[in-house]
């Protein structure tokens, strides 16, 4: 089912999403991947304040190519989410509501979705040029020294994603394959 959602995603909005829904997101989200997650976790373990507000946050696992003049961002498709599996359950427990990436997640992450009424979306891997057209603003929030891995805040309009893991315990990667297996 096609849906349009305005960010931020709250628990209420997440509860309405089912694995397989095709969703167009509009609003603000954070961008962070491997190295940025590692730094956030270090701050959490030291009990220090985070540079981003995790409450109802959507985090897009992505590291863009450099923007050409006059454009907000370069190519901007999702990276493999499993590399963030180690960190995701903790961030979800601290308020993060949605993750955008591609590829399988661990049971720990899927359980954290149910526990926190959160959602895991897949964006289309390798469609970085197309997805960049849905990003209208981009600014670096912190960790500029990480280059493509800096934490960014971006504004998106009708950014296409598919619900893979919902808060009802469904996993589209497991169910969809069975339909077409011969």
């Amino acid at each position: 089912m096609d849906k349009k959602i305005t960010l931020p995603i709250t628990s209420e909005k997440a509860k309405d999403l089912k694995a397989g829904d095709y969703v167009y997101l509009s609003g603000e989200m954070y961008v962070a991947r491997d190295a940025a997650h590692k730094r956030l976790m270090e701050l959490i373990s030291e009990g220090k304040e985070l540079p981003i507000d995790l409450k109802d946050a959507t985090i897009y696992y992505m590291g863009p190519s450099p923007a050409r003049e006059g454009r907000p961002i370069g190519s901007a498709g999702p990276t493999t989410a499993s590399r963030m599996d180690k960190y995701a359950p903790i961030l979800l427990d601290l308020g993060e509501k949605a993750m955008i990436g591609k590829g399988r997640r661990t049971k720990e992450v899927m359980d954290a979705l149910v526990r926190n009424s959160a959602v895991y979306f897949a964006a289309i891997g390798g469609a970085g040029a197309l997805l960049s057209k849905c990003i209208v603003e981009s600014e670096i929030v912190c960790y500029e020294d990480l280059g493509a891995e800096a934490i960014r805040k971006i504004k998106v309009v009708d950014f296409p994603v598919i619900v893979v893991g919902d808060c009802h315990g469904n996993n589209l990667y497991e169910t969809a394959i069975l339909q077409y297996k011969k």
């Binding site: 590291g63 901007a76 591609k102 590829g103 289309i124 040029a129 077409y180 297996k181």
Partner: protein, 281 residues
């Protein structure tokens, strides 16, 4: 006759090839995607494939890299034995081309100088370079930027001779099934069979640079390529791993003699952005 080639020419070509490969796919890859759009059984799968085609068009028209992971630059360079390079040493010349291509072409710098310390080199160098000495006085360069979503899902299996062809098939299907949605399907599957541990891995990468509409000239290998493609597409993984009948666009297999005691098999998986640029100088 010895032919002199200034390595500045190599630098210039590598630079252009980095930019070209990251913005345009080869015609055989585009044709394979076109065909998949027609044959895909899943509605969602079809929608994703169409978006991948739109993505290629946007990349081309608006000069945006096809994928944000513009890869680590893998360079196969076949140097004619009658060639004499002048100027900077060839390795520096290649890396200078990568540096210029990735910097001037607005490509992502994804290389860290040390696998554990992990500080970005900020210019995507060094490249991974495979040299071959071949007959003649030409230099053939194949530049293949390799993204790591699919690279991470690649495997080497050191099988026993007794495992035979069934063991090889099982290895390929295991690697593809484990890769699933992580490797951005529809994928291209490069396979190396034989040689040694490193030789089969290198062959599997070279196999990815062969056009996807071109089978091996060895009959049993061509049969294996066909059978594996069919089995992979029956796995149900589909475009984006979200279910469907298009999981791979091609399976390319290269082989080499091996030792009486071994049967090495490498599977190098590439996403649908199977980039390479080839030039002869």
């Amino acid at each position: 006759m010895i032919r002199s080639i200034d390595t500045k020419i190599i630098t210039e070509n590598i630079k252009e090839m980095c930019i070209e490969a990251n913005h345009y796919l080869s015609s055989d890859m585009k044709a394979a995607l076109d065909k998949a759009c027609e044959t895909e059984e899943s509605e969602l799968g079809k929608k994703i494939l169409n978006q991948l085609e739109d993505n290629l068009e946007i990349a081309d028209k608006e000069v945006i890299p096809i994928c944000q992971d513009t890869g680590m630059a893998v360079v196969f360079i076949d140097v004619g034995q009658d060639v004499h390079f002048t100027g900077d040493n060839i390795e520096d010349a290649i890396n200078e081309g990568v540096r210029q291509g990735y910097t001037e072409g607005y490509l992502r710098k994804s290389v860290v100088a040390d696998p554990i310390v992990r500080v970005n080199t900020k210019d995507n160098t060094p490249a991974v370079i495979h040299y071959s000495i071949v007959p003649g006085d030409k230099v053939k360069i194949t530049l293949a930027p390799k993204g790591f979503g699919s690279e991470n899902m690649s495997r080497v299996f050191m099988l026993k001779p007794a495992d035979g062809i069934d063991g090889v098939k099982n290895a390929i299907l295991t690697a593809v099934s484990d890769a699933g949605p992580n490797a951005c399907p529809p994928m291209v599957v490069g396979v190396g069979i034989g040689g040694t541990f490193e030789k089969c891995a290198k062959m599997s990468k070279e196999a990815l640079t062969r056009p996807v509409n071109c089978h091996s000239k060895i009959e049993w290998v061509a049969d294996l390529e066909q059978e594996m493609l069919e089995k992979i597409n029956n796995s149900g993984i589909g475009p984006g791993g979200l279910g469907g009948s298009t999981t791979a666009l091609a399976v390319n297999v290269n082989t080499y003699p091996t030792h009486i005691a071994g049967l090495p098999v490498a599977i190098n998986i590439c996403c649908h952005v199977n980039r390479h640029s080839v030039r002869e100088i």
